[in-house]
């Protein structure tokens, strides 16, 4: 019972039945439309609780080919509906309060000593009851990951606030003979309900619209991923909620070989679960791997051939040929020979070269540009081609 969401919701429904009977009965007896109206409003809460029970059952449907995430999203629909119902509740309470404040004949309300305990029992007593049950409901909802239950729990806590406002009105009326006192309090409560209802409504709507988990959670996921050795970065991250579950689609930049991806994926999954488990009981993680995106460029190496031996020339001016190399991720992945031409600049431009490598032992200065062009001249540390990874 303590942690079974369905049983908790059955207890909540039973509480609503008790509250409907007591509030409507007492409200009629002491002729308080606020108390009686509050009682009738609880009929809709009772139906909401029954719908939440149905949603909890539906959300437990196992994922299938047709519904790969199961039916968890139905809970977000529940949040959305509870949010809407809270707007309606706030509107009813507000309307009732304004009508009472400006038009109702309060003289018929009976708050004498014999009725005080009855009125307080129906208002403050039920408020305390609603508050305790609402807290229990949200706590079980959080631990079991049922967001519709959390939303309904917050709605129950709002009921407690209405009860407190009504009770304050009852006390005010008893002490100061001011029967209108409960209405300003009720108006304040209506504003609070709009605020809570708005949060629940937006959360449900966000989930239905596949809104991101938010910057805070996304940062946690990124941090978890890049903490794994072998992960260079996170290229793309898309997250959303499916009911109480988190769904993350993550693109990892890594230079690790394909056979290492399964180990990286397992470790990333473990770390993301670890960081999110306090807020989401279950996380669906979809990981893809890509090579880090690095600029590709074409460079030329000035080559000097002397006695059949190749080495990097001291300058392009003394080069006998050029190696035109494609560089990806800092490594030469393709090379082609080009004989030195009379117009070197024309040759390098034709080949779309962006940098020219030479080896001048005496030079230490930073890269300079080839005269009349935007081609950089870079000084290599060695004249030996093996330093470039070339045979």
């Amino acid at each position: 019972m303590k942690r079974n969401p369905t049983l908790v919701m059955v207890a909540v429904a039973a509480m609503y039945v008790i509250q409907i009977v007591t509030k409507v009965g007492v409200g009629r007896y002491i002729r308080s439309p606020m108390i009686e109206g509050d009682g009738w409003h609880m009929v809709s809460d009772l139906f909401a609780a029954l719908i939440v029970i149905g949603m909890i059952r539906l959300s437990k449907v196992k994922p299938s080919e047709s519904f790969p995430f199961g039916l968890k999203m139905v809970e977000s629909l529940g949040e959305f509906a509870v949010g809407l119902s809270m707007f309606w509740l706030a509107f009813s309470v507000g309307r009732e309060a304004l009508t009472g404040l400006f038009g109702h004949d309060h003289s018929s309300v009976r708050i004498g000593r014999p009725y005080l305990s009855l009125a307080l029992g129906a208002t403050a007593g039920n408020a305390a009851f609603s508050w305790a049950v609402g807290r229990w409901q949200t706590s079980v909802g959080k631990s079991s990951g049922h967001v519709s239950m959390i939303a309904d729990g917050q709605e129950t806590i709002s009921d407690a606030r209405i009860g407190v406002a009504t009770a304050l009105g009852v006390v005010g009326e008893y002490l100061f003979h001011a029967p209108w006192l409960e209405y300003p309090f009720a108006l304040g409560v209506a504003i609070l309900i709009v605020k809570t209802g708005g949060e629940i409504f937006l959360r449900g709507l966000g989930s239905l619209m596949k809104r991101s988990l938010g910057a805070e959670f996304n940062a946690k996921i990124r941090e978890a991923a890049v903490s794994v050795r072998g992960v260079v970065g996170v290229e793309d991250l898309r997250t959303f909620r499916s009911g109480g579950d988190a769904v993350c689609n993550i693109k990892i930049a890594s230079r690790a070989p394909n056979c290492a991806h399964i180990d990286l994926k397992n470790e990333i999954t473990n770390r993301v679960h670890e960081r999110l488990k306090g807020d989401f009981p279950k996380t669906w993680l979809f990981v893809r791997f890509v090579l880090p995106e690095t600029p590709r460029r074409r460079v030329a190496v000035a080559i000097r051939e002397e006695g059949g031996r190749l080495s990097v020339a001291a300058s392009h001016l003394v080069a006998t040929r050029f190696l035109i190399c494609d560089v990806e991720d800092g490594e030469i992945v393709r090379r082609k020979d080009a004989p030195a031409a009379p117009d070197i600049l024309k040759l390098l431009r034709e080949k779309r070269v962006t940098a020219l490598y030479a080896h001048d032992r005496s030079a230490l200065e930073p890269p300079k540009l080839l005269l009349g062009s935007d081609i950089e001249i870079r000084n290599l540390a060695s004249a030996d081609l093996s330093a470039l990874g070339l045979p």
Binding site: S254, P257, D384
Partner: protein, 253 residues
């Protein structure tokens, strides 16, 4: 290790500069010299001028030396970092080889390094354990530069599951020979912060690689097993892991 010198080859490529950066980071922890093996002719000043290699935490220049030639004669038991694949195999087997697996830093600053040493019932685990202990002592020594931060060794063993025994207690599944190795490793590392991690993983390589990631290990220390004809664990771990691996030398110094 025979001496406190780390050897790395100079290459202009991104991976070559990553190895240089990793070797420099390891030298900082070991308070060791860095010997850069560069082809002749090479401008050492130009290598030192590679700002992106040495920043943001430069190694003291007096610790960096240069050697020329493709296969200079190194003392047996030297520590080689990076790709020396074109060196003669006999020469390579005389040294400890460290493969940085594309990492650029030995371990994050101000955190004690963690070494994972897989072992079984064979002698390779003990050889790897001896190297790990030697490295760990070198890192724990109060070096003049204050580089020592202590370290931790995790001895790792995974074993085939015995279906007759409860799966929750992996130690019960251990072969007596492996248990004896563990006892010897515990004795070897008695003065060093160490512990054991025993599992019944689905396969040995997945267990080693997965545990290295889960433990946030900075280095996997292994030695080649004797008598494996095909599918050496060491080769398979090297092909699959993203955690740097050091392989112990294969002839006694």
């Amino acid at each position: 290790m025979s001496e406190r010198t780390v050897y790395v080859r100079f290459r202009e490529s991104r991976s070559g500069q990553s190895e240089l950066r990793y070797a420099a980071s390891l030298c900082r922890r070991l308070d060791a010299d860095l010997m850069v093996i560069a082809p002749e002719p090479c401008s050492s000043m130009r290598v030192l001028g590679l700002a992106d290699v040495w920043s943001p935490d430069p190694l003291r220049r007096e610790l960096i030396r240069f050697a020329s030639g493709t296969t200079p004669h190194l003392p047996t038991g030297s520590l080689l970092v990076g790709d020396f694949g074109d060196w003669p195999k006999n020469e390579l087997l005389r040294h400890h080889r460290l493969y940085p697996r594309d990492q650029e830093e030995f371990c994050p600053p101000k955190t004690p390094p963690k070494l994972l040493v897989p072992f079984g019932k064979g002698g390779s685990g003990e050889r790897a354990g001896a190297l790990a202990v030697s490295l760990s002592r070198a890192m724990s020594d109060p070096a003049p530069s204050g580089a020592g931060h202590g370290s931790e060794i995790v001895f790792y063993h995974t074993t085939w599951r015995n279906p007759a025994l409860p799966p929750a207690l992996p130690r019960l599944h251990m072969h007596p020979g492996s248990a004896a190795t563990q006892a010897r490793l515990d004795e070897l590392a008695r003065d060093i912060n160490h512990r054991s991690r025993i599992e019944t993983a689905s396969d040995v390589v997945s267990g080693i690689v997965g545990s290295a990631l889960a433990e946030n290990a900075d280095l996997i220390v292994m030695a080649r097993g004797v008598g494996t004809c095909l599918g050496s664990y060491m080769d398979r771990v090297l092909a699959r892991t993203t955690v740097p691996v050091i392989v112990a030398l294969e002839v006694s110094p």
